[in-house]
């Protein structure tokens, strides 16, 4: 039960920071994810793609970190898009209504294009 976090910077028309998450996001691991996302925002990165492709599990504390990040980037006219194809995780976004708040895409390319 661990989470691996990796950040990549994509240079395009609009620079995008991609946060790759690998593992499980719960009450124990979410502080590490929060630290990374808030650190990016604090250093002026307001276009974020969070890649959940390799996330096997997420709970409400993980969702809270994503919502917190979205609120912060919106203060700077930024955006957060997610990459997710795992049906169980998509179901959690669906029943919590977060599908209406986040852009959720099947591929990283789509998530970046639609930022």
């Amino acid at each position: 039960m661990d989470i691996k976090v990796n950040v990549r910077e994509l240079d395009g028309q609009r620079p995008v920071s991609v946060v790759d998450l690998n593992g499980e996001i719960d009450v124990y691991t979410s502080p590490k994810v929060k630290e990374t996302i808030m650190g990016l925002i604090d250093s002026g990165h307001y276009a974020l793609v969070i890649n959940l492709e390799n996330v096997r599990y997420i709970d409400s504390t993980g969702l809270g970190v994503l919502i917190g990040g979205l609120k912060r980037v919106r203060e700077h006219s930024g955006a957060v898009n997610l990459v997710c194809t795992n049906p169980q995780i998509k179901k959690i976004f669906d029943i919590t209504g977060l599908v209406k708040i986040f852009g959720i895409y099947d591929t990283e390319a789509q998530a970046c294009e639609n930022l």
């Binding site: 719960d26 009450v27 599990y57 409400s60 969702l63 919502i67 609120k71 919590t96 977060l98």
Partner: protein
């Protein structure tokens, strides 16, 4: 001198499995995997096992985050032919009734999703609030045939 191990009792005869974890974030994963293992034995579908895992983890997380003064969380699974009843209890001062009230989802909110998820994922959910003895959450998941 070594600390005594936390007792775990398993009794197939009475359909009862009990687990007590320290009231610390790193132990929530152990609780959810234990319940997933029990649900798997009972032939729950993969989707229902994932629901149970999340609901139990949310309940344990609530106990750890909100029950000041508690040092452990007790998870009790009662096994029936057609359902599992999971009781999650802390020994702290408990969460407030306002935190447990059903929520409407509208504006994004950082907190409060845990209880909403539990109510959404389980078939029946009951809370017992005791300001002196802590909070007990009892939730039921039926086996779908």
């Amino acid at each position: 001198m070594r600390e005594p191990l936390t007792p775990v009792t398993v009794s197939d005869g009475t359909g009862l499995v009990e687990l007590r974890i320290p009231s610390k974030a790193e132990w929530v994963g152990v609780a959810r995997l234990a319940v997933a293992g029990i649900a798997s034995r009972l032939q729950f579908s993969i989707e229902d096992i994932e629901d149970l895992k999340l609901a139990v983890a949310e309940a344990c997380t609530n106990c750890i985050q909100h029950a000041a003064g508690g040092d452990s969380v007790a998870i009790t699974c009662r096994i029936f032919p057609d359902k599992i009843i999971v009781r999650v209890a802390d020994t702290g001062f408990g969460v407030s009734a306002a935190e447990l009230a059903p929520k409407r989802l509208g504006e994004p909110s950082v907190g409060g999703l845990g209880v909403f998820l539990i109510r959404s994922l389980m078939d029946d959910v009951e809370y017992e609030l005791d300001p002196h003895a802590g909070t007990t959450l009892t939730m039921t998941k039926f086996l779908r045939t």
